[in-house]
């Protein structure tokens, strides 16, 4: 028993020493946002594995896939001989197995917009690229600040930010609530969230709620596979069913396409800029 403890302690000490001394060279990231962060720092070459949901930057196409949040492929992951695995903080089964295999890991937690640059810095420090990470984070912060400044003083239209509904109809509408990075992006882009009073990341809403709350602007986000077969004109016309809504009457319904709206990584700056352009056209 004592011997085992000693061996374990020694092993742990060695791992700690190793990781402290040398930055990881073979990184696996199960989080698309962190993959984008590592590429933005200029360290993409150190990634040997990414999740099955990674699409950006294009270079990820040639990196091995190791599953995702719900279905990490541990066998393939181990075969990549990583010296750092970046996992969601909820993937406890996976982290237990990584512990047994003595593979260091980094726990990622997804929260609001301000946490994104904080994560950039923390990941940078962990992989030995603190300086590059700081540059990326500072640029993001100043860019977001510039967007906030550019819309300062303008009227803030009451906005419904939709991130999902059934194609061709107004059924099963999901919108951003008053919490989370979508809400924060809308806030910076100069829009008043229609559901700011509901402190949830997502709100399942209904036609009645939209008719009653009368948004000035409706912005729909499209991303992932379903964005590829998008018929923008047809989807916009679905909203004509609610003619009394100011956004519909004044033709202020927008469909914005891009994965940057749902990946809380460095591209949130682009996403926020696109929101600001829709909310405050020149």
């Amino acid at each position: 028993m004592i011997r085992r403890t000693v061996v374990l302690a020694l092993t742990l000490a060695t791992i700690t020493a190793l990781s402290a001394a040398e930055p990881p060279k073979r990184i696996v990231s199960l989080i698309p946002a962190v993959t984008e962060m590592i590429f933005a720092m200029g360290d993409g070459a150190r990634l040997v594995g990414v999740s099955s949901y990674d699409r950006y930057p294009p270079q990820v196409a040639s990196i091995a896939r190791v599953g995702g949040l719900l279905d990490p492929n541990v066998e393939r992951l181990l075969s990549l001989r990583p010296d750092l695995v970046i996992v969601y903080n909820t993937q406890q089964e996976l982290t237990q197995r990584l512990e047994r295999a003595a593979i260091p890991f980094y726990l990622y937690e997804h929260r609001g917009l301000p946490d994104i640059t904080q994560t950039v810095r923390a990941v940078g420090a962990r992989i030995g690229s603190a300086e590059a990470a700081n540059r990326v984070a500072a640029k993001m912060e100043s860019d977001l600040d510039a967007i906030r400044q550019s819309v300062a003083g303008r009227p803030r239209p009451k906005t419904l930010l939709v991130f999902g509904r059934d194609a061709g109809s107004l059924r099963n509408i999901d919108a951003s609530g008053g919490y989370g990075f979508l809400h924060d992006m809308l806030d910076i882009a100069g829009g008043e969230d229609m559901f700011a009073d509901i402190t949830k990341q997502s709100v399942q809403t209904t036609t009645e709620m939209i008719l009653a709350r009368r948004p000035d602007v409706i912005i729909e986000l499209r991303y992932g596979d379903s964005a590829q077969s998008l018929d923008v004109k047809r989807e916009l016309s679905a909203w004509d069913a609610l003619p009394s809504v100011p956004a519909v009457r004044n033709h202020r319904v927008y469909i914005l396409v891009g994965d940057e709206f749902v990946v809380p990584g460095p591209r949130v700056v682009d996403a926020t800029r696109k929101l600001a352009q829709a909310l405050h056209p020149r």
């Binding site: 999901d174 709100v203 209904t206 069913a241 009394s244």
Partner: protein, 326 residues
């Protein structure tokens, strides 16, 4: 007498439900002709948001409850439900195929998901009907039940496979659809659902006597002049059509189809001439009531109506059960 009591209940609920919601509206303004409809928020909330919802809930509740009665009699099994023979999950597979694999389309104002969903239920019905037709001389309810259970788990596997292969946004849409929702938002899907429901209604009208006699066993029923094979076919097709119409309109809403028939039997006895229409009426009223709670209890948030049907129907059913057996 009994039927008119259930009818009165449904009428009362139908009148009350559109008046209540997460927002207050003025009825006078909603029906006012002086304000054009495009500007009349109250009218739009009444006619676009609430009325289709109440009508949809009535149709779905009636369709599922009547299907439950018929499946329970047909399969001679109190645990049978609209979901038992795979028609409901067939509709779900159709919807998930539309969400995940098909490009968006619409037919006469009805979007891809309900169309594909009803098509899926017809596919499942064809398989079940094939199973039953394979046994020329009337179907053994056990074989049919077993076939339905196997078909359900097979289609369930297809459903999971499609979900597994789709990207996270589509998986999320699928999960959302599978929760069920009555916020129909327009009338074309309701009109479309009326067609199969009307056909099913004709079938149901032919069934009560046959179902009563068949509960004694197929041989006893045949001895009293029931064309058992034909009655079973009519029962199967009618119940499947009304299940398919209900699920494609609102998604799978559990509990109505299995519990409403039992509730009604506890109230009116086992005579199908009473049970079948009373279940349809009570199912409609029950679902309208549950949806009313779902959309107002946590306003501005809305609960999936399936949670309400189970949380109200479950304790109510147990109470009736214990009160009767005491």
């Amino acid at each position: 007498m009994t039927i008119s009591a259930f009818g009165a209940l449904l009428a009362a609920v139908c009148l009350l439900a559109p008046l209540v919601g997460s927002t207050h509206i003025s009825l006078a303004r909603a029906f006012s002709r002086s304000v054009p409809f495009a500007d009349n928020v109250d009218a739009q909330i009444f006619f676009i948001a609430r009325l289709p919802r109440v009508i949809g809930a009535a149709l779905v509740g009636a369709g599922l409850a009547a299907a439950g009665v018929v499946f329970q009699a047909l399969l001679r099994n109190p645990l049978a439900a609209p979901e038992t023979l795979g028609v409901s999950i067939g509709a779900s597979v159709g919807a998930v195929v539309a969400i995940t694999l098909l490009p968006a389309f619409s037919i006469g104002g009805i979007s891809a998901v309900p169309v594909a969903s009803f098509t899926g239920s017809l596919g499942a019905l064809a398989i079940v009907y094939g199973l039953s037709a394979a046994r020329r001389r009337g179907m053994s309810s056990t074989v049919l039940l077993l076939g339905g259970v196997v078909l359900t788990s097979f289609l369930g596997a297809i459903l999971t496979l499609i979900q597994y292969l789709s990207d996270f946004t589509q998986t999320f849409r699928t999960v959302r659809w599978l929760m069920g929702s009555l916020d129909v938002g327009s009338y074309p899907p309701i009109v479309a659902a009326l067609v199969p429901l009307a056909i099913a209604g004709v079938g149901y009208a032919m069934l009560p006597r046959a179902l009563d006699l068949m509960s004694l066993g197929p041989d006893a029923a045949a001895a009293r002049g029931v064309d058992v094979v034909r009655a079973e076919r009519v029962a199967l097709v009618s119940a499947s059509l009304s299940t398919g119409a209900a699920v494609s309109l609102a998604g799978p809403i559990g509990f109505i189809g299995i519990v409403v028939p039992h509730l009604v039997r506890l109230m009116v006895g086992a005579d199908h001439r009473l049970v079948l229409p009373a279940s349809a009426l009570f199912g409609a009223a029950f679902l309208i009531g549950c949806d009313l709670i779902a959309r107002t209890a946590f306003a501005p948030l809305e609960l999936p109506v399936g949670i309400v049907t189970a949380m109200i129907g479950g304790p109510f059913f147990l109470w009736l059960l214990f009160r009767r057996t005491r």
